[in-house]
Symmetry: C2
């Protein structure tokens, strides 16, 4: 899911009383695509075919008979019609081609599991727009953007594949997804166990709702990542907010700030909340993509990027001006590692993909994740979670109000032990792990922990620099999947 949910929340609690800024939302959401990482790209060639499947716009009512084309990608090079399997990527909030190219794990295991790979695009993202360019026009058009409709799309798509591809019918399907897609994979198995034999839910914060997790957990983990990556690193960041506040209190200070941070546009006092939010977002991003090898997110990044960033943030007790210069050096690692950027743009949008608005709607309806900071246990300015304000902002932007408890009502919250065959994997470095399942619930609802892992590291392609913890995690995941596949085929044999 990337951090859009977070950022939308932050937007609300960072800039109380202001509207959700569509520019920021756009920029924010643009970055939700998984990092492209040339260095880590699997040697496995990613040859897939692109298809479209006609889906009902509304699975849960009969009055609206409209349909739309859902895009999906299919790769069957290693698929064995007898005794093989189908790995089904439960697409999340973005272009499915990005996800396909960045989920190297599925490509890496295809041969071993004799698997057909299917990557299904989530409705309202990429090319799968229920109402074309009007999809985001208003609440009426967005009404069908829910996790339930997306899961129903997946079900109908799988039924279609089983009907139309000879040999597919007698094959076990395994749902695989990361982040919000990991939540979808888990929920898919919970709600449709007759369709998928199991699910790999990577970095899926299914408990980042209501009060299942303290609202400050997420930012505490971000802070810990910085604390562990360099002496005084988190303290320096913590002190930077006041430095910015002080410097921005005068016109000359604002001018100096803009210059020192190499911003593309001058700063006004009103921009300061946005500036701080943009910086905060950078630290959050870094925590999510703190991978053990060089990767490419919005910008190319070195291995263990937080360590590199923290090299500039070792001294919290310098004057404000020096502190901000150091902050700039740190930001510059993230925004200008390639050295190509002429200036840093705090309202930059990295993609024009309309679909990226989708998550901000989802965060305003089903995906209500409370976040907060206190400036003591974390390195951020204190901000409380304010549902009322959040709801009002959502109503202003989309004409809808969130239902904070709906996801728990629908998918069970912590009371899920009657389900089976779900792997919940989480990286200890990943801020989203705080809302994830990190302890086994039953023998078949298992938690896999990746000590050196950031956001769904396990779904990325094999890399020579992979730490042992992720190799072990993947091995465990494959073991479970093999068992599900075997159980399925044993069952088929027993029945025939």
């Amino acid at each position: 899911m990337g951090y859009p949910a977070l950022l939308l929340s932050l937007l609300v609690f960072l800039a109380p009383g202001t509207c959700i800024d569509p520019r920021r939302v756009l920029r924010t959401l643009s970055s939700l695509h998984l990092p492209t990482n040339p260095a880590s790209r699997s040697s496995v060639a990613k040859n897939y075919s692109v298809f479209y499947f006609q889906q009902k716009v509304d699975h849960f009512g009969f009055n609206n008979m409209k349909t739309f084309k859902q895009r999906y990608l299919l790769a069957d090079k290693h698929w064995d019609k007898d005794g093989g399997s189908i790995l089904f990527y439960t697409g999340n909030e973005g272009d499915i081609v990005w996800f396909c190219n960045n989920t190297g794990f599925m490509w890496d295991v295809a041969e071993e599991l004799k698997a057909m790979l299917v990557f299904a695009e989530h409705r309202y993202y990429g090319e799968s727009l229920p109402f074309g360019n009007n999809s985001f026009q208003d609440g009426r058009h967005l009404n069908f953007l829910t996790s339930e409709q997306a899961l129903a799309d997946f079900v109908e798509l799988i039924k279609h594949l089983k009907r139309t591809i000879p040999g597919a019918e007698d094959q076990p399907v395994i749902a695989i997804g990361g982040s919000y897609g990991g939540m979808l994979a888990a929920w898919f198995r919970m709600k449709y166990p007759h369709i998928v034999v199991g699910a790999l839910a990577a970095s899926a914060p299914i408990w980042q709702f209501e009060d299942f997790v303290p609202c400050d957990t997420f930012m505490k983990i971000v802070t810990t990542d910085f604390k562990k990556s360099g002496s005084n690193c988190s303290v320096t960041i913590l002190r930077s907010w006041d430095a910015i506040n002080r410097l921005s209190s005068t016109g000359s200070g604002l001018q100096w700030l803009a210059q020192t941070l190499h911003l593309c546009s001058p700063l006004t006092f009103e921009d300061i909340p946005n500036l701080k939010e943009w910086i905060m977002e950078t630290w959050v991003n870094l925590a999510m993509v703190n991978y053990p090898y060089a990767s490419n997110f919005l910008q190319p990044l070195p291995a263990w990027p937080i360590k590199v960033v923290c090299q500039y943030l070792i001294n919290p007790s310098v004057p404000d001006s020096m502190l901000i210069q150091n902050i700039f050096q740190a930001l510059n690692v993230y925004y200008n590692y390639s050295g190509q950027a002429k200036c840093l743009n705090i309202s930059e949008t990295a993609t024009k993909n309309l679909g990226s608005l989708g998550w901000s709607y989802q965060a305003c309806t089903e995906m209500v994740m409370p976040f907060c900071t206190n400036g003591i246990d974390d390195m951020f300015e204190p901000h409380q979670w304010n549902l009322k304000k959040y709801s009002d902002e959502c109503f202003k932007q989309w004409g809808v109000r969130p239902r904070p408890s709906w996801i728990i009502t629908m998918y069970g919250g912590k009371n899920i032990k009657s389900h089976s065959n779900i792997i919940f994997s989480n990286g200890d470095l990943d801020p989203w792990s705080g809302g994830g399942v990190t302890k086994d619930i039953t023998d078949t609802l298992v938690a896999v922990t990746i000590k050196e892992g950031a956001h769904h590291l396990d779904l990325r392609a094999n890399n020579p620099l992979d730490p042992t913890s992720v190799l072990l995690a993947r091995a465990l995941e494959i073991e479970h999947m093999k068992r599900w596949i075997k159980d399925f085929h044993d069952n088929v044999r027993r029945q025939s």
Copy 2:
């Protein structure tokens, strides 16, 4: 569910080319209420309170913020806040007060299970009308009449009860329902195992969809009931159709028919399909309520009513006129056992309840149950199942088209073994048992068979004339429910 789904289907295949007759639909649907049976009324006093809960009209979208009042009944005389339970009746297609008064089983077991009883009305029935008198106006207003929305109502209602009734939170909830309500109870457990610890699904034909069951199964069971209840009974009925066809071919024959059958209105040739359908419906009704003691359905009935009816149908080889006179005697048992009726009305509607239109909409959307007859293995004129025609009729009446595979897609069809804690009970005499689960699927998905049982006899109140098979069934059901309750409380204790 009664037989409305059947009758709607029959309407289509019996009178090809004609519209669905709203009068007939009304009459048909009116009879779906469970039989009132003064003789069998439990000695347990049925004291309940009536409440209303504000439900969202659309649980699955955020654009429509409308709400409506769902009615529910609550009885807590025997409820124990510590170590007790909540028995939740998943209301089906009718007025919840009727169901409450006719589900004596729940009242009979309340004390033993220290249970609070909740009877939740199904949306679009009784008083629970999402748009008041406009609820059935058109497809737009009916759009929220689905099993998924009904289940979501139940979930939200239970969450509400747990929030607001001190002691309810730590109580296991068991879903109980019969017929369509039994399907809802089973699906409730499948989709929301975090809300209900188990389900008693009485006479729930969850496989009466697509081709899971041959379409002639239902009418074959009806026929068997008549065959076993009297010598030549089913053969006599089989011959009656041709006798009617022959007699109705002349004006004087039509007049004689109307007179002999004591119909309230004269017959035209165009009425003959309706007449035959009305008679067929009578035989189906009788099969459903073929209870071992006197009961009161649309009209009061004697014990084992088919046996009584069959006393008049022992000779198939008499002339047409004699045959029809005998058919009249048989019909008269059903329509005039009390001797009060002056004439028989083939388009009679027994209730003016608007809500009763609901099932015909449901049968035209989700609840597509294929029925057929062949006149060889059953005692009816041959009629094929014709989905195209069925769909066209639905489109004419409601502006919607059925999705025949949706229920299976949603709820899993025969592939449900990963679920748990559901009792499927079926009576061998009940035509709906053909589409039900009559063999254990796993240790916790169990089938209970009632040899002498018609439609959900087990849910009716204790009666001195209850056959051993239903006493055993109820004992088994109670045993399972006690185990679910114990498991729940053991778990709570273990966690605290």
